[in-house]
């Protein structure tokens, strides 16, 4: 069945079709529609799950991890400040090695407060042990949730998975989404198997105990890393199984019109569909331009990036995030992955889309042009914030009203 769904509804449908058992929740914009939808289904008896509203995201992730450790399939969702409030428990729950799916609806972090998206929230969790899938369409939100359960629950992985979608641009945006049948999903996603780490009367299990000394700590931490690395291989298997099963591709990196591309955009999230559009128009104009969009960000698909980028001329990395004092996070990670490559492309760093600021078609063309010039001169341009003179005038206008005078810098 194909119907119009918001990204939030698609996420809820993913949970419903995965036949989750438990829904610890807490409201936060722009995620709230997900839990409202699920709550309604639970109330109507359409979803046989228990929904509990906790008093914070910190408690929500704790309850999610504890329930997963007890042996049920868990779904939960949050955004932005909520993800950061839960951060302590993200690391904990990953260390417990329990499988669950957490949807994050990206929203820029305070201060200043905003409701619109960028990716600093989800990227703050990149070292936590949660695997990360990033979505560009509402269809992908649903697909990612289903695939995330297979990935999380795989015996070789057993790690929680975070599925990310952009606030507003996906969360509140309706698109046609193919809803698979329950039977179709069941054939892809087997029933939950708690494994041996679970709480049952008569079977003593002490979970998440302390260790003394750096040796055992190193072992357990590194095992989590090895499981995450293994998840890359497992993901490739699953993406193939997914394609066969649902007739839709789901590779770790989407490569759009890359076959003979000399210049490529690299970015994550829903704004990447704007990049696709720009690629089409640039192709129309005769330029050999393509797009690489990682769906899988943890584990980082470094080997696949190397394969796809070796021998290319130039890359525009568009970061919808800002590591203050460093710059774009994707740019940094990609540069590290490409460093050992002899025929590596020139990398140009662009920061755009912070707090939901639009990236226009013209800006994509300009970025491609800058990279083309960089390739010619052999000189990468300095990092560029996508921010125009007109936007500056607007800010100045706001500052005048706010009583702020331009002072000494």
């Amino acid at each position: 069945m194909r119907k119009l769904l918001t990204g939030n509804k698609a996420a809820a449908w993913g949970a419903r079709l995965a036949e989750v058992d438990y829904l610890p929740v807490f409201p936060i914009t722009p995620q709230t529609e997900i839990i409202e939808t699920l709550a309604e289904w639970v109330d109507r008896g359409e979803l046989d799950a228990r929904l509990t509203t906790l008093e914070s995201e910190h408690s929500m992730v704790t309850a999610a991890g504890a329930a997963a450790a007890t042996g049920v399939r868990v779904f939960t969702a949050t955004s932005s400040q909520g993800l950061l409030y839960a951060m302590e428990m993200l690391y904990n729950v990953a260390g417990w090695r329990v499988p669950l799916v957490l949807v994050n609806v990206s929203r820029g972090l305070s201060a200043p407060i905003t409701l619109e998206p960028d990716h600093n929230d989800v990227l703050a969790a990149r070292d936590s042990g949660f695997l990360q899938l990033h979505c560009a369409t509402c269809q992908e939100v649903l697909d990612s949730v289903l695939l995330a359960y297979r990935l999380a629950e795989d015996k070789r992985v057993r790690l929680p998975v975070l599925v990310n979608l952009d606030g507003f641009y996906l969360s509140f945006t309706r698109e046609p989404v193919i809803l698979p049948s329950r039977e179709q999903v069941r054939a892809f996603l087997p029933a939950f198997d708690a494994g041996s780490n679970r709480f049952r009367g008569g079977e003593p299990v002490s979970q998440a105990v302390a260790v003394l000394g750096g040796g055992p700590y190193s072992y357990f931490r590194y095992q989590t890393h090895l499981a995450a690395v293994e998840a890359g291989e497992v993901f490739d298997e699953l993406s193939e199984a997914f394609s066969n099963h649902f007739d839709r591709g789901f590779k770790a990196i989407e490569d759009y019109r890359c076959e003979d591309a000399e210049i490529l955009f690299v970015m994550i999230g829903s704004f990447a569909t704007k990049a696709r559009e720009a690629v089409d128009r640039l192709r129309d104009a005769g330029q050999k331009v393509g797009l690489l969009r990682p769906r899988l960000l943890r584990p980082f698909p470094a080997r696949e990036f190397v394969r796809l980028l070796s021998g290319r001329a130039g890359v525009a990395v568009i970061d919808q995030n800002l590591s203050t004092g460093l710059g774009g996070i994707l740019y940094t990670e990609l540069a590290a992955a490409l460093y050992p490559v002899p025929r590596r492309p020139i990398l140009a760093s662009f920061i755009g889309g912070l707090g939901g600021r639009d990236i226009t078609a013209g800006e994509f063309y300009a970025m491609a042009e800058q990279v083309r010039q960089a390739v010619e001169t052999g000189q990468a341009p300095p990092p560029r914030l996508l921010f125009t003179d007109q936007e500056m005038q607007t800010v100045r206008g706001l500052q005048r009203i706010a009583g702020s005078e331009e002072g000494e810098s």
Partner: protein
């Protein structure tokens, strides 16, 4: 560089001892590093602290693996393998033991070709002075680098937050110990740096992924803590006098460790493997049927009994 390791029990002022020595050496113009090592252990459990001192800035960090001086503030620790009191000693290492036994006796207890110096318990010392203070004084003398003035000043600085009476009595104790080992002034030699050649290459492995059942910090068994012998924390032990015991079993109820069971004859039986020596049982026994003896005496009695049986 001087590398000094202090061993004692939680509550014996081992951290303070290392700080007194560290500060004294600092006053004498040395570059100094001192630190306690904390674990999960509590009062009574074996702990250690260490001091490094050099004439040049110190780059080493962490636990001292090859000490020039090992200070044993609690002699019962030498019998306890996990305390690792003698770890890394060489012929050049001086071992200082706070003990009533003579050097000759200790020579029979463990092999050490280097010097063993015994600091006898000081009879006239006022009560309540932790063993650490004595040992700090003796260690300062053995290094031969710390003057009486520097040592006094160090005690004052380190105990500044305490009552003047306590500072005074500690100062006296430190100086008494300093004088008591005056014959061995400067016996400890500054150790050489570890050279490249004497370092063993690490036997690194490429860790592979284990099944999640074992790769997470999960325990799949109950009551494994019984394997931890917290009896080693004890310096004094409660002993039940069956003549006086009326089998009221209050001791069983009060024991914070759950370490007193009821024997087949109805008398309480103390689990010495786990008894931490809090002595709540002795304090609470309505019939004064639990006596308290030093652990060293208990060991001697056991040894004597074992000898009798032979």
């Amino acid at each position: 560089m001087y590398r000094i390791r202090f061993h004692g029990r939680g509550g014996q002022g081992i951290k303070t001892a290392s700080r007194i020595l560290g500060t004294a050496l600092f006053i004498e113009g040395f570059e100094v590093q001192d630190a306690p090592r904390y674990g999960a252990e509590r009062r009574g459990a074996p702990i250690f602290a260490y001091v490094r001192a050099d004439t040049i800035p110190i780059q080493e960090r962490g636990v001292i693996h090859r000490p020039d001086l090992v200070v044993v503030a609690d002699e019962t620790l030498l019998a306890i393998t996990p305390a690792q009191v003698l770890e890394g000693i060489t012929a050049a290492t001086v071992v200082l033991i706070y003990s009533g036994h003579p050097e000759s006796w200790w020579r029979e207890q463990f092999p050490h070709v280097g010097r063993i110096i015994v600091l006898s318990p000081i009879a006239e010392h006022p009560g309540g002075i932790p063993a650490g203070a004595f040992c700090a004084g003796a260690a300062a003398a053995l290094l031969g680098e710390v003057s009486e003035e520097a040592l006094t000043q160090a005690v004052e600085e380190e105990l500044a937050a305490h009552d003047p009476e306590l500072v005074l009595s500690n100062k006296q104790a430190v100086m008494t110990a300093y004088a008591a080992v005056a014959n061995y002034h400067g016996q400890v030699q500054s150790g050489p740096p570890l050279t490249v050649n004497e370092t063993q290459p690490p036997a690194w492995i490429d860790m592979s992924r284990d099944a999640v059942d074992i790769a997470a910090p999960v325990i799949h068994a109950g009551t494994t803590s019984c394997l931890v012998k917290t009896g080693l924390w004890r310096t004094r032990r409660p002993v039940i006098d069956k003549e006086k015991c009326r089998r009221c079993l209050q001791c069983c109820a009060w024991c914070p460790e759950g370490g007193i069971r009821v024997g087949e004859d109805g008398f309480p039986v103390i689990d010495y493997e786990h008894c931490k020596g809090c002595l709540v049982c002795a304090a609470q026994c309505p019939f004064k049927a639990i006596k308290v003896i030093p652990e060293s005496q208990a060991k001697e009695e056991q040894d004597a009994q074992a000898a009798d049986r032979k």
